[in-house]
């Protein structure tokens, strides 16, 4: 087992024929992910990389039995693409797209919640279950199958941690990049719940950063419910207040969202907090 994606994932790629979409579709197929359909309005009937392309998500789902969608669609078209996948009955949507307006995401998230759809992202590197499926852009070669679950707001920092774990002989069950936006789909707690229930995950790494209070809420959840050890790293201890640090959600506002407060909350929940990413493997032992 693992969480969210595995060898039974039948993936549909929205925006497969675009530059990013095509590049990463090739990478996902090379990793062994079952990519069953692409959707690009106006290109239905074509075949790309041995995968049939459809004009609509509904047609693609009807023909191929796809059960998960990934988006490489530009931000201005992404809300429509997510509504389309939700209305076609897909229950897991992974949105790689970055630069999404917040007001768009508030409406999208509310609708997806009403439809019982799980969203990962936007502005995220997606999901990787090593040895089974890569649904996103996490470099597959740095990961190994194993029992450490990873959930992170940052992309490249996740790659860094995966590599450090692999180098220390610790494989991963599933790596989940939830994204750096202030309003997004699955949050730390949603993913921690899944890891807590997953028999193949025995330890979890949580990678947070400044902005918002998701890490504090995760700390409360860990204290009350988590049965597995958690190690954390929080980025942005040197970030100044009032400045957006690259990610739309990474900003200290009105004295809230400080790294120090998040670290304090996690320590109080018996989470070991690493001083830097390469220290994480030693804290997991």
């Amino acid at each position: 087992m693992s969480i969210l994606v595995n060898k039974d994932t039948r993936l549909l790629v929205q925006g497969m024929t675009g530059r990013e979409g095509l590049f990463h579709t090739k990478q996902m197929i090379a990793y062994g992910t079952r990519v069953v359909a692409g959707v690009t309005p106006g290109k239905g009937g074509e075949w790309v990389e041995g995968v049939p392309v459809f004009d609509t998500v509904k047609a693609a789902v009807d023909s191929t039995g796809a059960n998960c969608a990934i988006l490489f669609v530009p931000a201005r078209f992404a809300p429509d693409a997510m509504y389309e996948s939700a209305d076609a009955g897909l229950k897991l949507i992974v949105t790689i797209t970055e630069n999404m307006p917040v007001q768009d995401m508030m409406r999208v998230r509310q609708y997806l919640d009403q439809q019982g759809v799980r969203l990962v992202g936007p502005n995220c590197p997606g999901l990787l279950t090593p040895g089974e499926a890569k649904v996103g852009i996490i470099p597959g070669h740095v990961a190994r199958p194993g029992n450490v679950g990873i959930v992170a707001r940052s992309g490249t920092l996740t790659y860094e941690v995966i590599q450090a774990l692999t180098a220390s002989g610790m494989g991963q069950s599933t790596c989940v990049g939830i994204g750096g936006d202030p309003v997004k789909g699955m949050n730390f707690i949603d993913v921690l719940e899944l890891f807590n229930a997953d028999p193949l995950t025995d330890r979890v790494v949580l990678i947070g950063e400044i902005g918002g209070n998701d890490e504090e809420q995760a700390a409360d959840y860990i204290a009350d419910h988590m049965t597995k050890p958690v190690v954390a790293f929080i980025a942005g201890q040197t970030a100044p207040p009032g400045k957006r640090m690259g990610h739309a959600g990474a900003i200290i506002e009105g004295g809230s969202g400080l790294a120090a407060d998040k670290i304090k909350a996690l320590l109080a929940a018996n989470v070991r907090v690493a001083a830097h990413p390469e220290e994480i493997p030693s804290l997991l032992r």
């Binding site: 630069n99 307006p101 007001q103 508030m106 509310q110 590599q163 201890q237 100044p240 690259g246 739309a248």
Partner: protein, 379 residues
């Protein structure tokens, strides 16, 4: 992107919110002319994109046109929190009977817009939150339905707004919500909204922060950006699609990915250095972007060493290496550079850099320690 007070209030006025009569002046002479036109007392308000203008002496009351000219001369020569005052707003002075706070922002935890109001206006809302949290009223709005009339009445009642003002308040509330949605704001704030002696509601001060990600559909608003209010480095960084924030330290950082960029700053600090900046070159950066990034970092005279940390996923290490080589040829710098390249095409990247005079590192900790040591030697 922050808008100036005068820009924010013009957007409010377009949506039916009453604002004081007034105009912007760039010289004291213009301020005098505007004051003559308006007649009576005026307020001279510095237009800089920081809070605390009043405390800094950047908001002054003038009794006559010649007084307005004198005060505008003073205010236009000020620097507030590092920003020189280049413009003043000359507004008719209001007869303030009562000050209210009224704003809308995105509540990221609730994933909804939230209307915030308080009977304690005229001071920063964070200040009220600390000293008098019971005086703050919040009403979450359904993003699909928009602001409902009853929600406005809930707010009016909770801030104990006298009933004679409810109709005017309702109109202002809809105007504020429309401004928020139509401009894709992350904050639309009237502070204070005043009740005047003759019982009108007027938005005396206003602030709008726009969602940068939505500017593609608001080209008219994007043009309102005041380039004088940001550093030359920030303007240059935006041109190349780089995220750059200047800090006070001596070690310049160039990283791909926001989280890793913050993590790199933190580890520099952990090993006794101080980061000079946050800089994320983003995913898939080409050589010209890397060159621009290094140019921006090295334009900071405090930088004693540069730490380049690249974990290639979409980003290719060989492209980054070509950018570094081009930058070195262009800039002819003697600032020591520590480079760590990992991931996609790392072997090719390292081969390209073998002849350049750079310090290489294998791990993040190793890179940070070498950068701190190099900065100390150079300092």
């Amino acid at each position: 992107m922050k808008l100036h007070e005068y820009q924010s209030k013009l957007l409010f006025a377009k949506n039916g919110i009453p604002i004081p009569r007034g105009r912007v002046a760039a010289t004291a002479r213009e301020a005098r002319d505007i004051a003559s036109e308006l007649g009576g007392r005026v307020v001279i308000k510095s237009q800089v994109l920081v809070g605390g203008r009043g405390k800094a002496g950047g908001i002054r009351l003038a009794k006559s046109p010649s007084d307005a000219e004198d005060l505008a001369t003073q205010v236009l020569s000020m620097t507030i929190k590092g920003l020189p005052v280049r413009k003043v707003l000359v507004d008719e002075a209001a007869d303030i009977h009562k000050e209210i706070y009224f704003g809308i922002t995105n509540d990221r935890a609730a994933r909804r817009p939230v209307v915030i109001a308080s009977s304690e206006g005229g001071v920063e809302i964070e200040e009220v939150a600390r000293t008098d949290p019971d005086k703050i009223v919040r009403e979450h709005i359904d993003p699909a339905l928009g602001l409902r009339d009853y929600e406005i009445r809930n707010i009016a009642l909770a801030i104990e707004l006298p009933r004679e003002h409810w109709r005017a308040f309702e109109k202002i509330a809809h105007g504020l919500y429309n401004t928020y949605t139509q401009t894709d704001a992350t904050l639309a704030e009237i502070n204070p909204l005043v009740i005047t002696g003759d019982k009108r509601l007027v938005a005396l001060d206003g602030k709008i922060v726009l969602d940068d990600n939505a500017l593609y559909r608001h080209l008219d608003l994007a043009e309102m950006r005041d380039l004088d209010e940001e550093s030359a480095q920030e303007t240059e960084a935006r041109k190349y699609g780089l995220s750059y924030v200047k800090l006070d330290g001596e070690i310049g950082c160039m990283v791909n990915g926001a989280g890793l960029a913050m993590g790199t700053m933190d580890i520099v600090k952990l090993f006794g250095g101080a980061p000079a900046n946050f800089l994320d070159i983003g995913g898939g950066a080409q050589a010209d972007k890397v060159t621009a990034a290094l140019r921006i970092i090295l334009s900071d005279p405090k930088v004693r060493a540069v730490l380049i940390n690249i974990f290639g996923g979409i980003t290719r290490c060989d492209e980054v290496a070509r950018g570094i080589i081009a930058a070195l040829a262009e800039l002819k710098t003697h600032v020591p550079m520590v480079v760590r390249l990992v991931g996609t095409n790392e072997a090719e990247g390292r081969r390209l850099l073998a002849d350049a005079n750079l310090i290489t590192a294998a791990s993040l900790a190793d890179a940070a320690q070498k950068a701190v040591a190099a900065a100390q030697r150079a300092g």
